[in-house]
Structure formats: structure tokens, C-alpha cells
Symmetry: C2
Subunit: 310 residues, 2 copies
């Protein structure tokens, strides 16, 4: 059995317009790198974090909390050290906490011969999410662990469906560097919605899932509509409406808020369009004068992957 | 070109638990039979209705209204006579008005060389639905016209997706002979729903659509949950909870209210189970002492079909 593993744990886009709280997909060109190694001492130790200023203390670190939750269901006479090269900025809305939580438990599971399945790993990683945002949501950890598009059909019992991804589907994601806390974005949402809007929302969820199964890019685009969160949350993102319009003009299938923002994603048919859309997004935020990161990526159908086995 | 056509226009199950107002499927063993023939006089004439006591006057008959709406977009120098053998009882909750509305426009379209596509025909047939229930809904006329399972992704513009049907999927439908008006069933629904329930609902729509594409019968069953209409409307159907439990015990994948009731549908994997479920349903209503009709049917993947060309 391996002693040490280096992994890539992807950034993820949750909600995906119509799929509020239930849909998500994984990216390929942005993610955390983590080294996890067996150590003689029981328990978890986070030995190094580079890239971001985050706590090494395991009870305050999402990777530590997720890993500890997992260890409680094992009976190992050894422990693990974790190093995190944090590439995804916390608060970016592309699953920063999820990548570290999911990465930690996935890597440990590999090192001990994979006694746990993906659904178990989601359950453990959700405890990291709980630390990060107060709710144990799965819409980022699920796509990180399963890869591709995932649907959280139910939390109790936990039921996650992997949806196939059309092969030319690309995502362009821009992270304008403003701060939106998930908890603040949640507060903008009302506890009730009109039946009329809810019905439109699930009609579009049905359309998006159909489009993904049927490789119908146009249907995917038509279904990327959000009647619930976007009308409220987009107010927190300067330039959102302009970015969305510019993406659609540049040929994007659809465009929406990634998770609770501030990142904005667009889905595109093919790399050429995805790059055009990237240029369009850049152009808007350059004019507004807000710094940004931008990512053009295939949908990552594999999820977390091994970079090195040592 | 044919002078006269005899068709079968199927009964349909709308809503399908999670898919309130957007999903529906067509049955094979119950439907209206209609004869539509060219006539020298312009316009529409309903010459005969057997099976039910319904108005011959075209402005008061759903088939008449749908057909007239269609004729407005043509420029024909002849008209049509319609005979209806009404097999589906009005108010049964299995798309009685939809079958006649859709059947009329489908048959006329065939007789004039099919200038209209299915989406046009849905649009015309919806006018019949408007006469019947006050709202121009498409969740019964769409599966009657397209066959199989249909999703109304959007009304404006009208966008209907045909979802593939796993080949062993069967429906058992019981019509307990009590009266529930669609308008009364609508009044039971609140104008707002909790975001929590709405989210569960669209998670299940996603699950059901996935199950249908992936031939995953178990997933179809897990997704047949309704947090919106069933908790309210089931109160209007005596014995509903018992029937549902008995269906599940007999092996049904899931069970719910057909349309706005009073019919109850169950989906099953294979005919053997569908018949067991039928026995279980019968048993309950025999004990309660309510008369009923019961139908065991494949999902009708074709929709309306020609019985005779003359």
C-alpha cells in the first residue's frame, strides 16, 4: 500500500442556475493540490498550507474536520499528515472548502485501500462544509468526488445521481474579487417561493437533465434559467447583468451565479466559444475595474485525481 | 388524401408525483375513439357523441374548440365532421378533455397532409383544455400528442421535451368514481410553497428524468415523491393513503395522484407487478365500497394512433 499520495481536488460549480441546492459540476483547470501521507501517530495533522492563510488546527480546518469524521468510522493504529496547496480562494463561490474537505477524505480512503464508497466520502466531506458555511450541504463535494454533473436527489437518505456530460461541454468561470459570504447570500433568499416560479424552476431542472442525457446543447442552454436565487443574489455581484448578456452574445449556452457567488459561470459548446466567452467576461470586469481570476475548463468527468503516488 | 380517419386518442397521467404541472405520460389501454371526416361545408360539426353525455355544440365542446382554433390558421374550402366515442369519463383525472382536444386536431392535421407539427397541435389542443378547466395547460395534451413521457419545459415560448421510456415500465391506474373538479383541486394549493419543499421537488424531478433516461427503475421509484400537491389533494380521495401503501407493498415503484385526481396511478417494472398492483388497488376500493374503473397499461410511446383510414 502507498505511503503518500498527491492529489488534485477540483473546484466545482454548484446550483447551475435552475438546480438550486441540488446540482453541481466539477472543473478541470482549477483545484487544490494536497499531499496526504501515513504517519505513525494516530489522528490527523495538517503540516503545511500554502497559497492561502488558513488554520492548521484540525478542528478549524475543513479538511481536518472531514478527515476526523471519517477516521471515527475506522479503527486504524496510524494517522495521517496533510499538506494543502490551496489554489482555490476561499469565498470565491467555486467550492473552495469542498475541494479541501473532499480531497482529504478521498486521499485517505485511497491510502487505506478504499473501504468507503463515494457516498460515504460525501457524507464525511459534508462535515467540512458544515464548518465552512454552517450547513452540511453536498452540492460542491458531490461533483468533486463523483466528477461530472451530480444531482443530490435526497439528503435523507443521501442519494446522489451522476449525470452524463456531453463531450464538448465547457465551462468558463470568472471570479470577480469581491467578498460575498455564503451566509449573507442565503439571507437574501425568502423561505417561501411562489408555486408559479417553483414550477418553472423544476421544469428547467427537467430540461437541463434531459439536455445532459440527450447531448442536446441547445436544450441545456434553454434550461439554464433561475427564478429563485439569481434574481436576488445577482444584486450582490457588480456587473452581473452585463456579464450575462455579454456571455450570451459571445455564444454561451447559458450563464449564472456559481454557488452563492461572486463567481459567474457560463456553459459553452466547445472550447472556441468558451474562450470567446472568457474574453467577453474579462472585458466587462476590466472596464468596471474589479480584479478577477478566470478559468476555462472542460467539465471534469473524473473528479478528484491522483497526481503522484509515492 | 384520405376522406375519413378513425383514431385512438389516449388517456394520460399528468403531474406524475414530483412533476406538478410539467410532466405527463400516455396510456395505451384506455382512450377516446374518434372518427373525423372531411365535409363539404366549412368549419367543424360534431355529429355524434356516444359513451358520455357531452354537448355537440362546438363552442361548448373541447374537441370543437380545439379544432376551430386550428382551422383559424388554415385556409380550407371544406370542413370536418367529428364523431366521438367517449371512453374516458370526464372528471376522472386521466386527461378526458385532453384526449378529445388532442385527437380532433391530430386527426384533422392528418387529413390535410400534416402542415402542423406536434408543438402546433399542442397549442391548438390547449384551447380545448382552457374550455374544460379554465387554464390552457399542456400536461395532458402533450403526452397524448407526443406519446411517452413529456416535459413542458416552458409555456412561453412553448417548449416540450419527449423523455424516453424504459421498455418494461407499466402503469396501473384506478379511477374511484367520486367527483373532484380540477378547479376545486387547484384551490387546495397555496400560491406559495416553502423553498425547502420546492427544492426537494426539483431534486426529484431531476431524479425521475434521470431514471427514465438511464432505465433505472429503482431511481424512478425513489423519485416519485410529491411535496407540493399530494399532501393537500390526497385528502379529497378516500382511501388514498391505504391504496398508496398497498401499491408499494405489492411492488409498485411509486404511486401518486393522476392529474388533480381522483384517479391514482402507480408505475411498475413489468406487467406481472402491474397486475399485482391492480389487484391491491381493487381490493381496497372493493372494501371501501366505492365503484371504480381500473387500467393496466404499457406506457404508450406513440401517442394518438390511426385505427382506420377510409
Amino acid at each position: 500500500m502507498k505511503k503518500e499520495i498527491k492529489i488534485f481536488s477540483p473546484a466545482t460549480v454548484a446550483n447551475v442556475s435552475c438546480g438550486f441546492d441540488v446540482l453541481g459540476f466539477a472543473l478541470d483547470t482549477i483545484g487544490d493540490e494536497m499531499v496526504v501521507r501515513k504517519a505513525p501517530q494516530k489522528g490527523i495533522k495538517i503540516t503545511k498550507i500554502i497559497g492561502q492563510d488558513l488554520p492548521l488546527e484540525i478542528s478549524k480546518n475543513v479538511a481536518g474536520v472531514a478527515a476526523l469524521t471519517m477516521l471515527k468510522e475506522t479503527n486504524l493504529d496510524f494517522g495521517f499528515e496533510i499538506e494543502i496547496n490551496k489554489q482555490i480562494k476561499p469565498g470565491s463561490g467555486i467550492g473552495s472548502s469542498a475541494a479541501s474537505s473532499a480531497g482529504a477524505v478521498w486521499a485517505i480512503n485511497k491510502l487505506i485501500g478504499s473501504p468507503f464508497n463515494n457516498l460515504d466520502l460525501v457524507r464525511f466531506a459534508m462535515e467540512g462544509e458544515k464548518l465552512a458555511s454552517g450547513t452540511a450541504h453536498a452540492d460542491n463535494v458531490a461533483p468533486a468526488l463523483f466528477g461530472g454533473f451530480t444531482l443530490i436527489r435526497s439528503y435523507n437518505p443521501l442519494d446522489i445521481i451522476k449525470i452524463p456530460t456531453p463531450k464538448n461541454l465547457m465551462a468558463t468561470v470568472i471570479h470577480p474579487q469581491i467578498e460575498i459570504k455564503t451566509s449573507d447570500a442565503r439571507k437574501l433568499l425568502r423561505e417561501t417561493v411562489t408555486l408559479k416560479n417553483a414550477t418553472k424552476q423544476w421544469a428547467n431542472v427537467g430540461g437541463l437533465i434531459s439536455g445532459l442525457y440527450a447531448n442536446d446543447y441547445n436544450l441545456i442552454g434553454r434550461s439554464l434559467k433561475d427564478y429563485i436565487a439569481e434574481p436576488e443574489r445577482s444584486k450582490l455581484i457588480p456587473g452581473f447583468d452585463n456579464v450575462k448578456q455579454a456571455c450570451l452574445n459571445a455564444g454561451a449556452l447559458g450563464c449564472g451565479i456559481s454557488g452563492s457567488g461572486p463567481s459567474i459561470f457560463a456553459l459553452c459548446n466547445g472550447e472556441k466559444t468558451a474562450i470567446k466567452v472568457s474574453d467577453a467576461m474579462e472585458n466587462i470586469y476590466s472596464k468596471i475595474g474589479i480584479a478577477f481570476d478566470i478559468h476555462v475548463s472542460k467539465i471534469n468527468n473524473k473528479g478528484i485525481k491522483i497526481l503522484e503516488n509515492r
